[in-house]
């Protein structure tokens, strides 16, 4: 495979960039694979990559209904963090942070991981205390966290509302300096390119229409491009999990919801960090192109439509202006919606299932993008070894039955209340 580097870029410039290789091929599906991963999103591609890289399993196919990277990995707000309170989430995400830090080199694809820091603003002492609980938990788990007072916040984001005319004054905030953003599409493409290079078949425009299960064991899948035999099948289709689960006669603790995001027109850089509003649901960062990337609430009802309604965005942007009044003069350029697997405690599921050889990776709620490498890594481990790794041991499917819930927000099963 061609190595991507400045030297190669210059070399290719002189041949008018006519000699670049395919980033990934477009093979016909084979009759049989050792592992079939359903879902060519970030998690699926990462899983295939780590199966090949860490476990030497390369007879792998990724089955994608549309085009790779077209799901949530291509429609998120690019935030990467490990600022969780619960150990299961914190340790898992921090493991992922390490993978993020070396991802560009590992994949030889610049995913532009940029640790610009994330600040969760607090607007009351009670909230400061709740953040302290989370931040201390992070620190005891070896994750960086800083508690900022009002003045310290002001130094970092002076354009936030520190005036008298404010409904919820800023008391301070919790910052994870090593959190940041990455270029979302590049993550999918980078994993795809390396996985392909190691022999994984990336099969696009191929829809799964059924599963071949007998005697409690998976034998393969049926697709729009024919039947494919497989010893093991990994489900990695957050957003469509319920649709495939139905084909397997499984009912999961997951509802499917819509989350919208939007960007403003590009402006010169004013905001370096990622910032979240504490008195509502709004978060913002500024992309390298200059666009303000903003998001917030779920639309609040079950949905598979990748299109939302304006009242939700109005609500989100109202909180945006409450936090940073200058946003009012910018213009909203583009909006989009992503379909979320909302699990019943807000945390994901990476586990084996009651069907032998069938593995489940779902329930990512809003947090799927940042989890891409850790999810792929642990899911690959779970599939390869047929047992969960200690990092994803907490993300079991039966925790709802035992009560070992991982509920960061304490909202329980009403997933639509965000």
């Amino acid at each position: 495979m061609q190595k991507y580097s400045i030297f190669n870029l210059v070399k290719n410039a002189f041949s008018n960039h006519q000699n670049w290789d395919l980033a990934w091929k477009d093979p016909e599906p084979k009759e049989e694979y050792d592992v079939v991963i359903i879902g060519g999103g970030g998690h699926g591609l990462a899983t295939a990559y780590y199966l090949a890289k860490e476990h030497n399993i390369t007879k792998v196919a990724i089955i994608e209904k549309g085009w790779i990277g077209g799901g949530n990995v291509g429609r998120n707000t690019t935030i990467i963090r490990s600022n969780y309170m619960h150990d299961e989430n914190g340790l898992f995400s921090e493991f992922g942070m390490d993978l993020w830090r070396k991802m560009s080199q590992d994949l030889n694809y610049n995913v532009m991981f940029s640790p610009r820091g994330i600040i969760n603003l607090a607007h009351s002492d009670a909230q400061m205390n709740a953040y302290a609980r989370r931040g201390n938990s992070m620190r005891l788990n070896g994750i960086d966290a800083v508690l900022l007072n009002r003045e310290e916040v002001k130094e970092i984001i002076p354009m936030a509302d520190f005036s008298e005319n404010v409904r919820f004054p800023i008391f301070g905030g919790l910052m994870q300096p090593s959190a940041g953003t990455a270029r979302h599409d590049a993550v999918a493409w980078g994993y795809a390119r390396q996985a392909d290079d190691m022999g994984v078949d990336i099969i696009q425009n191929c829809e799964v229409i059924g599963f071949d299960v007998s005697a409690g064991k998976i034998n393969g899948i049926r697709t729009s491009r024919g039947n494919i035999k497989a010893k093991k099948v990994g489900l990695c289709v957050a957003g469509s999990t319920n649709i495939l689960a139905e084909k397997l006669n499984m009912t999961l603790p997951i509802e499917t919801h819509l989350l919208q995001a939007c960007v403003s027109e590009p402006v010169k850089p004013v905001l370096d960090s990622v910032v979240t509003f504490g008195a509502g649901h709004f978060y913002i960062s500024q992309s390298d192109k200059g666009e303000m990337v903003m998001g917030g609430d779920l639309d609040g009802y079950n949905s598979y439509a990748q299109r939302g309604n304006l009242p939700t965005l109005q609500h989100v942007l109202t909180e945006g202006i409450a936090m940073m009044p200058f946003l009012s003069k910018l213009k909203m350029l583009r909006t989009w919606g992503g379909i979320m697997d909302m699990s019943m405690d807000g945390s994901p599921i990476i586990d084996k299932t009651h069907i032998d050889g069938l593995y489940l990776n779902c329930g990512w709620c809003y947090g799927g993008f940042k989890a891409t490498p850790a999810s792929g890594w642990t899911f690959a481990h779970t599939i390869a070894q047929d047992r969960v790794h200690e990092l994803n041991a907490g993300y079991s499917l039966n925790r709802f039955n035992t009560g070992h819930l991982i509920d960061e927000k304490g909202l329980g099963t009403k997933t639509w209340i965000s």
Binding site: I6, L9, N16, H17, W20, L22, A23, W24, D26, W67, G70, R101, N108, M112, S114, R116, H123, S124, A126, Y131, A132, R133, G135, N136, S137, R139, L140, N141, G142, L147, N165, R167, F168, D185, W189, P266, V267, K268, P269, A279, S287, N309, L310, L317, T318, I321, A322, P325, F326, S328, K329, L330, K331, L333, R334, T335, G403, D407, K409, G410
Partner: protein, 998 residues
């Protein structure tokens, strides 16, 4: 006249009103009715900006919403706004604007060095480099790239403009006031339908303002003016200019942004800058017209290259010549219309037509006017850097693959017409699956998804006659369906020139040996070669192409570039265009002011504020308030220079020693009435409720179905079938909905009504050893002794003429009462309490003292009932009935909830009895253990115990039941604190609960 490029006799501008303005510091003038673009062009200014990536010079490409280039920083009324399209900004006196994305100036821009490096910067170049050394991306490369990002500069000042919303409903909403919009609006209006007609430009009429057509023996423009004038007189019609319908949402809801004041030097006081209309229409008519497509050729981004229709609009609407030596490059008849207008006004154009032998009325007219026409000719490349100076042109073979000998023609502008692209955005947003129409090489709407109909050019119909006919009849038909009226409207005669067929040709091949950049997306600098690279590397889905190259992702959202991009992909991939498919259309059609989306309620009013009837008293008495949800509650009452710690300590101490009064109005109150009220409570709460006597209160805990504590509070039996429930402030609304849910959906057999009475009653908690004395003085005729009003008792009384409810309940652990009166009397009650309490040294206390008091007693509150705990965790297992069923009971059997070492609430005291333990600290066994250090529990609440005068905290601790007496460490790494602590009972003060019963 000093404007070199302004014609004297043409245009719709008001020549009596001269306006002066500044661009890049230089003074110019224009006229009322100009846009910034037309005024600059009138003054011969073509260089207005630089492109995003290569910083190539940018001029004007269009004349409206599709403009990819002319983006400026606007200064208006001491404010500045980035990214304003000069083609949309109307001129006002004193307007100032500057170029964006260039430094030090638009004329000499350092960033233009990228233009010379462009061979190294193909699509996706950044994915392939900047990876070495590892930390350099974030430290070195990205900051450098970031500096170059963005177009204009955002002002970080608070926006002083007003923005308003309006919710409107109508029968027919019509988007666009061109021929189809006007006809359908007129027909529908005549049938009495409620019509809203929206036009995004300042002037109504759309293409009729510039097309040389005749309707009903008038010019198209005059006919349009007549129709608009009549529509404006009709009460059932709203016509709005400067109003862009930008989004088509679910259930036929459309949103329109009306620019109310942008064309004025400043917004009129109390009036909005913009108004956002949420419009729900029974029927929607989309008459948004079409946008001219460019033809792609070398250096086609040079200032002076523009759409032919824009040149015509500048001429006919603004009397402005975009050049005096124009070259028209067309593949259809539209280019001739522009040529004819030039010729008519004394400017001789040259027309290059890619077609071999086109014949039509309009071409005949051009010929008869003596216009120089070259058939089978194309522009190969524009020459000139900051402005077109000439064009390399050549003949082209019939198969459009071979170019003839290249010649150079002098010209000062190149007006391009590559035929028309219907504006199908709204139809597509509605859910309409679009279809590709071969005859026009573009997508048109397919089958309607919602109640929408697309008409005229937006539907790919370019004949005026057909447009008027279908639009009049659609307007009549739809309005008739709604109003039942059938007033016939006669369709006027149309005189228009018939067009000949356009050439399916959109991209000029590169001549051998030449390497011109041929741009598709003009703002994002996406060229043909970029698309080729993307496809070569396997980014083959149109979405991959878009994302890899950023095609169509600029602020114009690809209005002029997307279709040409599709053509290119289809050609290289050897697929038909519909098989390539287009990327999804999403709102907004054009960038929309965030201020307008948000509306009026900003700053202090961004969320409502709830206040108790005693709020004014608290304010007068130096209360420092705290947000509790959207309620404002006194946190403490500041005396002198006291801080929060001192003030709340004083208040709490006074409760323990004397008596205090606290405003508890915010607690949720729910009136529960009905024969089955007790049964409802019995199912909702974990404890038993069937035997509570009248006149008694009981504490209860309710769970969610997943076994987690939802809320706690007391409920009092006022009379046989009447209960008064209290909830926490935070959960009040949820609890009400929760009860309604079970009553309406799960147990409809229960005869119970629930209604919130939170607002009906003002509440004061009177707490402390002397509270009975205060109560006795408030109600001299009542027996409030321990026998007359025992713990958890209830009485009704008369408080100096005001009826009152008295509950003997306590949150502080002291002898305490809660008095409720109707809200209008709240302040009266409060003042009376303060007055009679004076003898007993009463002081008001706020939420902070309230918190101290409850922590000392081990009462749980929000920080323990955090949506993750079960009754056992909060030492409330005694309230969990083993006999009866209740909401959530089944979940409590789960193994994690019954585990031997289950977490439980405990008290925590620092060994030194001095160091306060910060809330949010965690308890660990070994403070020096390597990370991750196992956490045994967390500090949920801390206070300074006024009883013992030392710090005291509550914690939720693993195996808390067996941990009393253990020594642990409370760690707050965030605050660099490691505090050795002892675990004690959570009931720190009065563990037997004697005081509340005293």
């Amino acid at each position: 006249m000093s404007q070199d490029f302004r014609l004297d006799s043409v245009g719709l501008i008001n020549r009596d009103k001269k306006l002066s303005f500044k661009f890049n510091g230089k003074k110019y003038f224009g006229y009322e009715g100009d846009t910034l673009a037309s005024a600059l062009l009138a003054n011969g200014v073509h260089l207005v900006g630089r492109s995003f990536k290569y910083h190539r010079p940018r001029g004007f490409f269009g004349a409206g919403v599709d403009e990819p280039y002319a983006i400026v920083q606007l200064y208006r009324n001491n404010e500045t706004e980035p990214n304003i399209k000069a083609t949309e900004q109307e001129l006002f006196d004193g307007l100032e604007a500057k170029s964006v994305n260039c430094w030090p100036s638009v004329n000499f821009d350092i960033g233009a060095i990228n233009n010379f490096l462009k061979i190294f910067l193909p699509a996706g170049f950044y994915y392939k480099t900047f990876m070495w050394p590892k930390s350099f991306w974030y430290r070195i490369y990205e900051p450098f790239i970031r500096k170059a990002a963005g177009l204009g500069v955002a002002s970080t000042k608070h926006d002083k403009e007003r923005y308003e919303h309006k919710y409107e409903y109508c029968d027919l909403l019509i988007a666009g006031s061109g021929p189809s919009g006007l006809s359908s609006a007129y027909a529908a209006a005549k049938n009495g339908a409620k019509v809203i007609l929206a036009e995004d430009k300042p002037r109504f009429g759309g293409s009729l303002l510039t097309d040389d057509v005749n309707i009903g023996n008038q010019s198209g423009k005059d006919w349009a003016e007549g129709i608009i004038a009549e529509l404006k007189t009709m009460p059932n019609v709203v016509v709005k200019n400067r109003s862009q319908i930008f989004g088509y949402y679910d259930h036929n809801m459309l949103v329109m942004s009306e620019k109310v004041s942008d064309h004025l030097p400043k917004t009129k006081k109390y009036h909005p800058n913009k108004r956002l209309w949420y419009i729900r229409a029974k029927e929607v008519l989309i008459s948004s017209g079409s946008i001219e497509r460019p033809i792609v050729f070398g250096n086609n981004d040079t200032p002076g290259v523009m759409l032919s229709s824009a040149a015509k609009e500048y001429l006919k609407v603004y009397g402005v010549l975009v050049g005096k030596n124009p070259l028209i490059f067309t593949n259809n008849d539209s280019g001739y219309e522009t040529a004819i207008e030039f010729q008519k006004h004394g400017v001789q154009p040259t027309v290059l037509d890619s077609r071999k032998n086109p014949e039509s009325e309009i071409i005949d007219e051009a010929k008869s006017l003596g216009i120089n026409i070259k058939n089978s000719y194309v522009v190969v490349a524009a020459q000139g850097y900051k402005k077109v100076k000439s064009a390399d042109v050549a003949s082209i073979s019939d198969d459009k693959k071979q170019l003839g000998k290249i010649e150079n023609i002098k010209c000062d502008c190149i007006c391009v017409s590559g035929f028309w692209t219907p504006s199908i955005h709204l139809a597509s947003q509605s859910g309409n699956k679009t279809k590709f129409k071969e005859e026009i090489d573009a997508f048109v709407p397919g089958i309607s998804k919602q109640q929408e109909t697309t008409l005229g050019a937006a539907n790919g119909v370019f004949s005026l006659e057909e447009t008027l006919q279908t639009s009049f009849s659609k307007g009549s038909e739809l309005s008739k369906k709604i109003t039942g009226n059938d007033n016939e409207v006669s369709i006027p005669n149309v005189v228009e020139k018939k067009f000949s067929k356009h050439d399916k040709f959109w991209c000029v091949p590169l001549p051998a040996g030449k390497n011109y950049k041929r741009f598709l997306d003009f703002q994002n600098d996406v060229a043909v070669s970029d698309i080729e690279i993307a496809l070569k590397e396997g980014y083959r889905s149109i979405e991959h192409v878009k994302r890899y190259t950023t095609l169509g992702m600029a602020t114009d959202q690809g209005k002029t570039s997307n279709l040409n991009g599709l053509q290119l992909v289809s050609e290289i991939e050897n697929k038909i265009v519909p098989a390539v498919g287009h990327t999804t259309f999403r709102p907004p059609y054009t960038p929309i002011s965030i201020g307008a989306i948000v509306g009026r309620e900003v700053g202090k009013h961004s969320k409502p504020t709830r206040k108790s009837p005693m709020h004014a008293w608290h304010e007068k008495n130096n209360a420092v308030f705290v947000d509790a949800g959207v309620w404002l509650r006194p946190r403490y009452y500041k005396r002198g220079n006291e801080n929060l710690f001192e003030g709340s300590k004083r208040e709490a101490k006074n409760v323990r020693t004397n008596v205090g009064v606290c405003d508890v109005t915010t607690l949720g109150k729910i009136d529960i009435k009905g024969p089955d009220a007790a049964e409802l409570l019995n199912r909702v709460y974990t404890n038993a409720w069937l035997k509570l006597p009248v006149g008694k209160a009981r504490y209860g805990v309710m769970l969610r179905e997943d076994g987690i504590v939802m809320d706690d509070g007391t409920t009092t039996r006022i009379s046989e079938n009447h209960y008064h429930m209290t909830t926490t402030t935070a959960q009040a609304a949820n609890v009400l909905s929760h009860l309604e849910y079970y009553l309406q959906l799960v147990w409809p057999e229960l005869n119970v009504n629930v209604v919130s009475t939170t607002e009906q009653w003002a509440g004061a908690a009177i707490a402390g050893p002397k509270s009975r004395n205060v109560l006795q003085k408030l109600f001299p005729n009542l027996d409030v002794s321990n026998e007359g009003l025992p713990f958890m008792g209830y009485l009704e009384g008369d408080l100096f003429g005001v009826k009152a409810r008295i509950f003997r309940i306590s949150f502080s652990g002291e002898l305490a009462y809660e008095v409720n009166v109707e809200s209008d009397n709240g302040n009266f009650m409060w003042e009376k309490i303060m007055e009679v309490g004076e003898d007993f040294k009463i002081q008001p206390y706020g939420t902070e003292a309230l918190s101290t008091l409850r922590i000392e007693m081990g009462h749980v509150a929000g920080s323990e009932l955090d949506g993750r705990t079960i009754p056992y965790d909060n030492s409330l297992e005694g309230l969990v009935s083993k006999k009866k069923d209740f909401i959530g009971k089944r979940s409590l059997q789960r193994s994690a909830f019954t585990a031997e070492d289950r977490q439980k609430i405990v008290g925590v005291v620092p060994l030194d009895k001095k160091t306060s333990i910060p809330e949010g600290s965690h308890l660990v066994k070994d403070d020096k253990a390597p990370l991750p250090n196992p956490k045994l529990g967390h500090i949920s609440a801390s206070c300074w115990s006024v009883e013992y005068d030392n710090p005291f905290s509550l914690a939720i601790l693993k195996d808390g039941k067996n941990m009393i007496g253990e020594k642990l460490f409370a760690m707050s790494p965030l605050k660099n604190k490691v505090i050795p602590v002892e675990i004690v009972s959570s009931h720190y003060v009065d563990p037997k609960g004697e005081r509340v019963r005293s």
